[in-house]
């Protein structure tokens, strides 16, 4: 490889590598710093910057993990993620499949209706009224799942992917006697793994990070999701809420390292799922987006 490299090429390679490395470090360092801060003992001055913690103390993690709120939040977030992702994938794929068929009557019309929702929404108040008063979903798990069950964007991507599957495959299945449903389940779904993984991952990350709908629709303490619990921990030490602390609290709470460990606890679960779906993920995004 290096035989034919000119001086310019090598220079370019160095410049590119160095700048990418710097970019990489600037992305990773905040996360590293968070880990370091979360491990700091309460006897270490917080106003200093550490590259390695002077001493490692898991006290903060113990405090975080001992709080019952974290488990309630964790359980709710997992329930929401599993239920929401499964339903969302099923609905998205089963809707994208017919839309990918050229012989679907009024195909452009149905597509237009879906695209319409990408540009126009009902606004916060009508949505709130619909979910709380009309559908009466307050403090139920459906309030987390149903309102955003279908994402128009995911649907379009999935439709594009499915229309790239050669129709000859379906025809041969039909010759063998398979009906529409059997064709879909046994031929199409196995071929669509990349797009299913992509949609699932996007939905899962979205559901994991979302907190605003929980704030609106599920205010009961036993319905708190993990991100809400985390938000509360982080907000508690910010300047606008501090007036509400007693001198005792101010003295005993060590907000920064507690916050850091809460953030780590809330982020790591979704972070470790990435490597497992990544190989499908990249393929799904590429294939889905290329054909229109």
């Amino acid at each position: 490889m290096k035989i034919n490299q000119s001086k310019d090429d090598r220079m370019l390679e160095i410049v590119v590598s160095v700048s990418l490395a710097i970019l990489c470090i600037t992305t990773l360092y905040p996360f590293w710093n968070l880990i370091v801060v979360s491990l700091l003992p309460s006897t270490a001055p917080m106003s200093k910057l550490y590259f390695f913690p002077p001493a490692i103390d898991f006290q903060n993690y113990l405090i975080v993990l001992r709080s019952p709120d974290i488990y309630i939040g964790f359980r709710n977030s997992v329930v929401r993620l599993v239920l929401g992702t499964i339903l969302s994938v099923i609905v998205t794929i089963t809707m994208a499949y017919p839309l990918s068929k050229k012989y679907l009557p009024n195909r452009t019309f149905w597509t237009a209706i879906i695209v319409f929702t990408m540009y126009f929404g009902g606004g916060l108040i009508p949505t709130y009224l619909l979910i709380t008063n009309t559908l009466e979903l307050t403090n139920t798990i459906w309030a987390w799942v149903l309102p955003n069950l279908v994402s128009a964007f995911h649907l379009i991507i999935a439709r594009n992917f499915l229309s790239s599957i050669p129709k000859e495959l379906e025809e041969s299945a039909r010759i063998d006697g398979a009906g529409d449903f059997r064709t879909f389940v046994q031929i199409i779904v196995p071929l669509s793994k990349p797009i299913i993984a992509t949609v699932a991952l996007w939905t899962a990350v979205g559901l994991w990070n979302e907190w605003f709908d929980a704030l609106l629709y599920t205010p009961a303490p036993e319905m708190a999701v993990l991100q809400m619990v985390m938000r509360r921990v982080i907000m508690a030490g910010s300047n606008s809420f501090e007036d509400a602390l007693t001198m005792d609290e101010l003295s005993y709470i060590n907000p920064e390292n507690l916050k850091a460990s809460t953030v780590i606890v809330a982020t790591v679960p979704i972070l470790i799922t990435y490597p497992f779906v990544q190989k499908y993920f990249v393929r799904g995004v590429l294939v889905g987006s290329l054909k229109g």
Partner: protein, 563 residues
């Protein structure tokens, strides 16, 4: 018709549908109509015709609650953590008053937004706690969501609470009136005086031969120059400065205006207005500020100011930490509020966050810093930013529907009044002694014995949380009880006596259009003049730009509001 036309019609239909969905049965206009009626009802209430037998019992007979009825109250409070339905303190309060409570768990950080959403969707609580935005309470009143209040009725319904209010702040009613003269809320107090910290390195003062804490602007300047040039840390090098970002506030204060909000926003200029000669004026354009800027510019040129002062004193982490002061780079700071710098309040207290942090970095610094006073300027003015005693963003109000249910309102007033009828009664809301709280005797900073009320769950004194804020208007204060060494300390130190506050307690119609731009202009101009990027004469040009770019409109609107 072809497909395209059908689609176009459908799209239009859907948009209309979407726009009207929010305006069905529970729209805001409905609320307005409903409450316009109830408002008139209440305004003329005591004089209104009443059944004869009620008249005999006095005008407030209809406010006597029905003993056999279990009232159900919807209450929204500014809570830190949501209250579960089976909360035991909640149960305790319900039992005590024979009522049912429905507490709205609205997240603190989006309190205003969430409350407005609920109100717009037609849900109105019986009792409100206002928080987060000064304009919230007047807005709700204007929309007819909250009940107009009548002092005579309140005196009848909650005499203890009213007596407490009069004791804590005589004339509080003036802070709670809308433009029509009607009282629309009850006030909440910043019971603990609070202001921006004024902190000197005591050992440095000693090293440069200053024995008295600077009181005038000249003494203030002399101390800062000595810190910068007379080697206060005895290192032999020029490695110190007088002060950094937070020196701006006492200097501006000495000249008579404060273009800053409270602490926590130390380097961010703000849309602050003062009343001057009966007129609201924008703090940033006051002519005295020109002299203040000239002084700061001189300090900058003479290397008395930290050259990095534009960046602010906090470099990440906990917001009240000041890195240049912690690292012995500067000898004066005003970063954070007084409570961040408080020494241990009693024998088991570790001190405020900054004291505690300095104890970890270098106990010598923690032991040596001293609280100063705001320097007196050439015209005798002085002060830093602080909290006024009446907390304008807070307070309590009642739902306007209570006008139609006088007995329920009467019951609600009874429940509220109980909290203010003595120290013992006020403890009901903290739960049961032994179960939810215990008492602990400590020796305070002043050597006196204090009775601390500790939450058993945490083992420390905590701010009332969750159900404890039910039926609360403001913090009760019983002067005889030695229960709060912190309050005693703040009163002893005379904090909050010389403070500047923003006297424009509202949101102007033109704020959205101009306020941010003009504050940005102020901030840029000030920093540029101090660092020498623009000559001091540029200040006049800035004032001119300010007036021409929306300042005039804001000034007019502000003074209209004041009248």
């Amino acid at each position: 018709m072809n497909a395209k036309k059908i689609i176009a019609i459908l799209l239009v239909l859907m948009m209309i549908l979407g726009a009207t969905v929010g305006c069905t049965k529970n729209s805001t206009s409905d609320i307005k109509d409903q409450t316009a009626e109830s408002k008139t009802e209440v305004n003329g209430e005591p004089k209104k015709e009443e059944p004869k037998e009620e008249k005999e019992k006095g005008p407030y007979a209809k406010y006597v609650p029905d003993e056999n009825k279990v009232y159900k109250f919807d209450i929204v409070t500014y809570i830190r953590e949501p209250v579960p339905d089976d909360d035991d303190i909640k149960a305790l309060i319900e039992e005590k008053f024979n009522v049912k409570l429905n507490l709205w768990n609205l997240e603190q950080s989006n309190y205003v937004e969430l409350l407005n959403l609920r109100v717009v969707s037609g849900e109105i609580p019986d009792m409100f706690e206002f928080s987060g935005q000064a304009s919230m309470a007047p807005e709700l009143y204007r929309q007819g969501v909250t009940l107009p209040l009548d002092r005579a009725l309140l005196d009848y319904g909650m005499p203890n609470a009213m007596a407490q209010l009069d004791m804590q702040k005589p004339g509080w009613e003036d802070w709670c009136r809308a433009e029509d003269g009607i009282m629309f809320k009850l006030p909440d107090f910043n019971i603990k005086p609070n202001q921006q910290a004024i902190i000197w390195r005591g050992d440095w003062l000693k090293n440069v031969g200053i024995t008295k804490i600077p009181e005038t602007l000249e003494e203030f300047e002399a101390a800062l120059y000595a810190f910068a040039h007379e080697d206060p840390n005895k290192s032999g090098n020029k490695d110190t400065y007088g002060a950094s970002t937070t020196v701006m506030q006492p200097v501006f204060g000495a000249f008579g205006a404060m273009p800053f909000w409270s602490f926590g926003y130390e380097k961010d200029f703000s849309n602050t207005w003062h009343i001057k000669d009966g007129e609201l004026v924008f703090a940033g354009i006051q002519p005295e500020m020109k002299d203040a800027l000239a002084m700061l510019n001189k300090w900058y040129v003479d290397e008395v100011l930290d050259p990095e002062f534009v960046l602010g004193e906090n470099q990440g982490g906990y917001w009240a930490h000041t890195h240049p002061f912690f690292n012995s780079k500067i000898g004066y700071t005003g970063h954070g509020a007084v409570y961040h710098w408080s020494p241990p309040m009693h024998n088991e207290h570790q001190g405020g966050p900054n004291y505690k942090e300095l104890m970890l970095i270098d106990p010598a610094i923690a032991e040596s810093y001293v609280f100063g006073v705001a320097p007196v300027g050439p015209n005798g003015k002085k002060g830093v930013s602080g909290n006024p005693y009446i907390n304008i963003t807070k307070g309590a109000g009642f739902g306007s529907h209570l006008a139609d249910e006088p007995d329920k309102f009467g019951k609600l007033m009874q429940c509220v009044d109980f909290r203010y009828s003595g120290m013992e009664n006020s403890r009901l809301y903290a739960g049961e002694e032994g179960k939810h709280y215990t008492f602990k005797e400590v020796t305070g900073w002043d050597g006196k014995t204090y009775q601390l009320q500790l939450a058993t769950e945490y083992g420390i004194e905590v701010y009332p949380r969750s159900a404890e804020r039910v039926f609360r208007i403001f913090t009760a204060y019983f002067p005889d009880s030695l229960s709060d060494p912190d309050l005693a300390w703040r009163k002893f130190m005379n904090f909050g006596e010389h403070i500047y506050v923003n006297q424009l307690d509202t949101i102007l119609p033109s704020d959205a259009q101009y306020a941010n731009e003009l504050v940005k202009l102020t901030s840029e101009t000030y920093y540029q003049i101090i660092t020498g990027g623009k000559p001091i004469e540029y200040f006049d040009e800035y004032v001119d730009i300010w007036w021409k770019n929306g300042g005039k409109i804001m000034h007019e609107e502000a003074n209209e509001w004041l009248r």
